[in-house]
């Protein structure tokens, strides 16, 4: 599992409580199992993570799925309480330190996740969300990532609620990068498990036929670009809304200036003092609330996420292609190979 970000990357805040997430193999297996079960039904898996905090490390040792279907909050709470009780009885870590969710192509940056994660993080500061991508995993790349809301965004939401305004976004200098922080993951097996794996290796050696040269570009790219389009569409509509908003504000502003000027002129004629700033503000209470920014920020983050994915994916595909070609030795000139690689990539049928 490749984690792209260094431990001391720019997105990291120093005061962040946990620098690393350590997963038990069991947890990974549990998540994958539930996902595979649900995937055949076309549903996404969701569930709770249990574990404990240790210094700079968040250890996750157990996962169990949440209730499926329509449930009330009360039911969900009852369910998790019950689970926790039972886990405690069995001597398993029962502190909920986060949740997991399966999502394809990294399309998880939405309001729902944002709100849920906020709830978790405000309960337990260290909580993370594990995002599992079953599609990528089935292609041979285990894609499991841990995210957490950045401290700035937590502050804003604490202060302004979930519909935080543009002003606060600007003040807190939140951008796409700092909305969700990714936390490196380490999967650690107990010695017993390692021993078992070794033994399995001996008993049933895996057929060493990994389709590592499989490109399967078109589907994924297509899907990704499609999602990207959606995101951009959303941004566009938000943009239009903002433009309208801006226009209204401008109109009001000019009205306001005009009225103030008129009143001032009247006052001057009567010999009274001009309007003070306070009086003016009293006269014109702020007419429009700033449009909520949460959605825009989330969409922007999501779009950037997609872009990353596409970039990552294309880079991988390209390198695979180059590798294959180099191996075949047909094209000596690497630049020619590159060109043809691009050419091939866009025509996957051939």
């Amino acid at each position: 599992m490749a984690t792209r970000r260094d431990l001391d990357g720019p997105g990291r805040a120093d005061e962040s409580p946990a620098q690393i997430v350590q997963l038990n193999a069991l947890v990974v297996m549990q998540i994958i199992k539930q996902c595979e079960e649900l995937r055949s039904l076309g549903e996404h898996a969701e569930g709770y993570l249990c574990g404990l905090l240790e210094a700079e490390r968040l250890e996750i040792t157990y996962a169990y799925p949440s209730l499926r279907g329509e449930t009330t909050d009360q039911e969900a709470d009852d369910y998790s309480d019950e689970m926790n009780r039972r886990l405690r009885q069995q001597g398993i870590d029962n502190m909920v330190v986060g949740w997991y969710k399966s999502a394809v192509f990294g399309s998880f940056l939405n309001r729902e996740v944002f709100e849920a994660q906020y709830a978790y993080q405000s309960a337990v500061e260290e909580s993370v969300v594990l995002i599992y991508d079953p599609v990528r995993t089935s292609q041979g790349l285990l894609t499991l990532k841990a995210y957490r809301l950045g401290p700035e965004i937590m502050n804003i939401v604490k202060k302004d609620g979930l519909e935080f305004s543009m002003e606060s976004v600007r003040q807190a200098k939140i951008n796409v990068e700092t909305l969700f922080q990714e936390i490196p993951i380490r999967i650690k097996n107990s010695h017993f498990v390692n021993a078992m794996l070794s033994e399995l290796e001996v008993i049933a050696p895996s057929p060493n036929k990994r389709p590592f040269l499989d490109l399967s570009t078109s589907n994924i790219l297509e899907k990704n670009v499609g999602l990207l389009l959606e995101g951009v569409d959303h941004l566009l509509s938000e943009n239009a809304k903002l433009t309208n908003h801006q226009k209204r504000i401008q109109r009001l502003q000019s009205d306001r200036i005009r009225i103030v000027q008129r009143k001032n002129a009247q006052r001057q004629a009567k010999g009274e003092p001009l309007l003070t700033e306070d009086e003016i503000n009293q006269m014109f209470p702020r007419p429009f609330p700033d449009s909520p920014r949460a959605d825009i920020v989330l969409t922007a983050a999501q779009v950037s996420q997609y872009c990353d994915k596409i970039g990552q994916f294309s880079a991988q595909s390209l390198s695979k292609m180059q590798m294959a070609e180099a191996l075949q030795g047909k094209l000596k000139d690497s630049s020619a190979a590159f060109v043809s690689a691009i050419h091939k990539e866009v025509q996957p049928n051939q």
Binding site: V225, L229, V232, N239, A240, Q246, V346, N349
Partner: protein
């Protein structure tokens, strides 16, 4: 004056008045015989008078009313009438410029002023309403009177001197002849009125006026009394007979007249005297027009005519009777050999009477009357042509006419052109009001030959007379209007066989060309010229001279300002446009045809736009008056353009353009809609789960379009050239078979294109031979179509000459690429809106710089793609803009260069035209 002597007790006041007047009197009337009938002054329509007389009389009438109201102290009424008076005065501004402000007007103003002042002084006695009116009258009056201060002051100073040149005398004179014995009553009322009034200064004159007025009304009543008699044929004479007793009076009058004559220019005097003399002799001789021994001469006839004409427009007049009378008079005059001028004059009067026969504008003449009108008109025109030395002009005043003196050129007042125009309009109305599918319509239509002959006769006459260009344009326009919508088959045959020049000779095209050329050169009103151009365009389009028609349309710049034209011209424009489109279609210029017809057809109400019928009224959309007007505007049925043809031609043109485009851009998200009407019909039929066999015309075309889209040209052809369409559309074309074969060839080619668009993806290569079998085209044709598609980059392929195959190059974008393209579109849009947003937030000057900087920067950094895409998009937008404009102006804009630009862009449009 005389009437005072005739029947009045010697009231001293009046006496003095009379003596006053008598030496004030020297002004006489400007007209010889009019005075005899001036008793019914109010009959404004009666006799044609000079503008001056007419206007002044109008003013005088109002003045009378003012005086009446003044007398009864109805200030409200006075106010109302004062308004009327000023209005009448403003109306006659032209005359007044020439003549100066008439004294009687000034006098009225002075009187009014007095009245206002006086009333103001005794305001207390007035009623509330009157006080209110008085206030506004006073202020209005003061404002108005400022312009006349000088004249009024001089009038006040010397009322009598001002009276010297007075026209009032006329009035006086007019009246006195018609006085009957029942004057007394009038007098007494007048006196009563006098007693009621207390005024100073110019009161006397004023009073006198009042009296006049009273008598006037009196004589009016007497006149109506005697009307019955008049109808029984012994009218004027009888009336004259009644009063030979007043010899004295007449003599006096004559004296006065002679006095008057002294003031006149020389030649006028002569004639006047003569007429007068005769007039009076006949009177004393007591001739009866219809008695056997009557001496018939000009004066009598004219008088008689005047009598008859004076009945015009009155309710009680029997119009049929009038016609008969004039006819009779004509016979009498002819028998007496009174000369041509009288004959002509009678003819003109007769025609006017016939027109009068039907007072209702909306309905047409009865057949019988119409026949008579045509006959008389024919005679008139023939007569005019035979006697072209006579002057028949509109601006000859009645007193300048010469009908009796053969030594001088005859001059007759009359406007034959106007009569002809009226007849033509009447003809149209008759056709409008006839059921188009009844035999009556054909019967009526048969008269067109006569109408045209009359118009032609008039034209010949006017050409001979060298009438002024304005009138010539008018008659030419009428003539053209009767020609332009008819096909000259001789021309068509001729142009098929020989050269164009040969064909033109002697055809209607030539006639039209000549008449139009005159109008282009001479017409001063743009309207006539525009109409001439449009009719010529129509005619040329009808005769398959498409290029000429198009060029003419372009040169006329009609489409720029047609929206300002009057509705009939707009209708004509629409007609010309439609005909142009159909002509383009026949000439095989599908694209042009489509553009020309689009505006009319896609509006969904071609019927209304071509004035070929009213749409059913939706509620409150049209008032009855409006409907009447619109009904009057309708084209007669024989001039209609076949709407089925229009619709079908439009749809087929749209099919040729739109279907290949649809096939080419099947799976594009945003596509341009070329013809909305067609597109929607197509979509609608696609929505049906089950489509039955086509029934209506559009259904046929849509079904054919569907077949074409799949490349099934046989079915397409079967549908387009089916019996039904043949019967309803194609058979109406001249040389329908030619059109049909043209259509068939085009259908094949178009189907081939559609086939290639939608199916080329499934082939690696396809042999020309196969294609030629599939589409029943020769190899050369196949290759030419392929070649065009390859050149315009509609088809990514190449032709392999030796093996005679078309080899496809697969370049159609994959799904990802399509998505990527869309994405780039979206992104550039996004960037744009973002910039706009930023523009709003930041003050004006800074951001422009920073953003251009940034964009350049981006370009430099090798993100050229985004930029290129952006530009591309802009370009696309431009292109759309162009075509949009194009369509708005029907592609007949005179901006040729622009059209060429567009042509490059819209190759798919053009291709279909090849």
């Amino acid at each position: 004056m005389s009437r005072f002597f005739a029947g009045k007790d010697s009231d001293t006041e009046t006496e003095s008045e009379v003596s006053d007047e008598e030496h004030v009197q020297p002004v006489a009337k400007s007209k010889a015989y009019q005075g005899d009938f001036s008793d019914d002054d109010e009959e404004t329509k009666r006799v044609v008078r000079t503008a001056k007389d007419k206007r002044f009389e109008e003013i005088r009438n109002v003045i009378k009313n003012v005086k009446n109201s003044k007398k009864i102290k109805d200030v409200g009424k006075v106010l109302e009438e004062f308004d009327q008076l000023t209005r009448a005065f403003a109306k006659s501004q032209k005359v007044i410029e020439k003549e100066g402000v008439p004294v009687f007007y000034v006098r009225t103003l002075v009187d009014l002023e007095d009245f206002v002042n006086q009333s103001w002084a005794e305001k207390a006695t007035l009623s509330k309403l009157n006080i209110k009116a008085l206030g506004s009258l006073r202020s209005k009056f003061r404002k108005y009177v400022k312009d006349f201060e000088g004249q009024m002051a001089s009038f006040r100073l010397n009322p009598v001197a001002s009276e010297e040149e007075n026209v009032q005398g006329e009035e006086e004179e007019e009246e006195d002849e018609d006085e009957t014995t029942d004057e007394e009553g009038g007098m007494t009322t007048a006196k009563k009125a006098k007693g009621a009034k207390a005024k100073k200064g110019s009161d006397e004159m004023d009073e006198d006026e009042d009296e006049d007025m009273d008598w006037d009304t009196d004589s009016e009543t007497s006149e109506t009394d005697s009307e019955d008699e008049e109808r029984y044929k012994n009218d004027p004479a009888a009336r004259f007979l009644k009063r030979p007793g007043d010899e004295e009076k007449q003599r006096e009058k004559e004296k006065q007249k002679k006095k008057t004559v002294g003031n006149r220019p020389g030649h006028m005097r002569q004639r006047r005297a003569e007429v007068d003399e005769e007039g009076w002799t006949t009177m004393t001789d007591k001739p009866k027009l219809f008695s056997k021994d009557a001496e018939i001469n000009h004066g009598v006839v004219l008088k008689k005519l005047g009598e008859i004409m004076s009945q015009r427009g009155k309710k009680s007049t029997d119009r049929q009777e009038q016609i008969e009378l004039i006819e009779e008079l004509r016979v009498v005059a002819r028998r007496a050999g009174l000369g041509e001028a009288i004959e002509l004059k009678l003819m003109l009067s007769l025609i006017s009477s016939i027109f009068d026969y039907n007072p209702n504008m909306a309905t047409n003449m009865k057949a019988e009357v119409w026949r008579r009108l045509l006959e008389t008109m024919g005679q008139l025109v023939k007569f005019l042509n035979e006697h072209s030395h006579m002057e028949v002009l509109e601006n000859i005043a009645d007193d300048e006419e010469n009908v009796s003196d053969p030594t001088l050129p005859y001059r007759v007042h009359g406007l034959p052109l106007a009569l002809i125009e009226r007849m033509d309009d009447e003809f149209t109305r008759i056709l409008q009001n006839t059921d188009a599918h009844s035999p009556d319509y054909v019967e009526n239509l048969k008269n067109e030959a006569k109408v045209v002959a009359i118009i032609e006769g008039m034209q010949a006459y006017m050409e001979g007379k060298k009438a002024n260009s304005e009138d010539m344009c008018r008659i030419y326009e009428r003539r053209i209007a009767h020609i332009y919508y008819k096909i000259d088959y001789k021309f068509m045959e001729g142009s098929k066989k020989g050269t164009a020049a040969q064909a033109v000779a002697g055809s209607s095209v030539e006639v039209l060309e000549r008449l139009c050329a005159y109008i282009y050169n001479q017409d001063m009103t743009d309207r006539t010229r525009l109409r001439a151009i449009l009719m010529r365009v129509y005619h040329a389009a009808l005769h398959d001279q498409w290029y000429e028609a198009r060029d003419l349309m372009l040169m006329s710049k009609a489409q720029d300002n047609i929206s300002h034209a009057d509705p009939p011209t707009q209708v004509l424009y629409n007609r010309a446009m439609v005909q142009l489109g159909i002509s383009a279609f026949r000439a095989g210029n599908i694209n042009e045809a489509h553009n020309a017809l689009m505006d009319i057809q896609s509006s969904g109400r071609p019927k209304e736009l071509l004035a070929q019928g009213l749409l059913p009224v939706r509620q409150h959309e049209r008032s009855p008056e409006q409907e009447k007007i619109e009904k009057r505007r309708q084209m007669p049925f024989h001039m209609h353009i076949n709407l089925d043809v229009l619709e079908c031609v439009y749809l087929v043109s749209a099919m040729f353009i739109e279907v290949p485009y649809l096939a080419a851009h099947e799976n594009e998200q945003r596509r341009r809609i070329i013809s909305k009407y067609f597109y929607h019909s197509m979509k609608q039929s696609e929505r049906h789960a089950l489509s039955g066999p086509p029934e209506t015309l559009p259904e046929y075309v849509i079904a054919a379009s569907k077949a074409m889209k799949t490349g099934d040209w046989k079915r397409c052809k079967d549908l387009i050239l089916s019996d039904k369409l043949n019967k309803r559309v194609w058979n109406f074309f001249y040389e329908a078979d030619k059109i049909r074969s043209m259509l068939a060839a085009r259908l094949q080619q178009c189907s081939l294109r559609c086939f290639m668009f939608s199916n080329s993806a499934f082939y690696d290569a396809i042999s020309v031979k196969t294609l030629s079998q599939m589409f029943d085209l020769t190899k050369e044709e196949i290759l030419s179509v392929m070649g065009k598609m390859i050149v315009t980059e509609d088809l990514a392929a190449s032709v392999d000459e030796p093996s005679q195959t078309v080899i496809m190059h697969r370049t159609e974008p994959s799904r990802v690429q399509q998505l990527a393209l869309q994405l780039s579109d979206k992104l550039s849009l996004f960037v744009e809106t973002n910039e706009k947003l930023l523009d709003m937030k930041t003050p004006n000057n800074q951001r422009a710089k920073t953003w251009t900087d940034r964009r350049q920067h981006q370009g430099g950094q090798g993100q050229g793609h985004g930029q290129a895409a952006y530009q591309e998009r802009q370009h696309g937008a431009d292109r759309q803009h162009h075509t949009y404009q194009d369509r708005g102006h029907n592609n007949y804009q005179p901006r040729q260069h622009n059209n060429y630009n567009d042509r490059q862009y819209n190759h798919y449009n053009d291709l279909s035209a090849y």
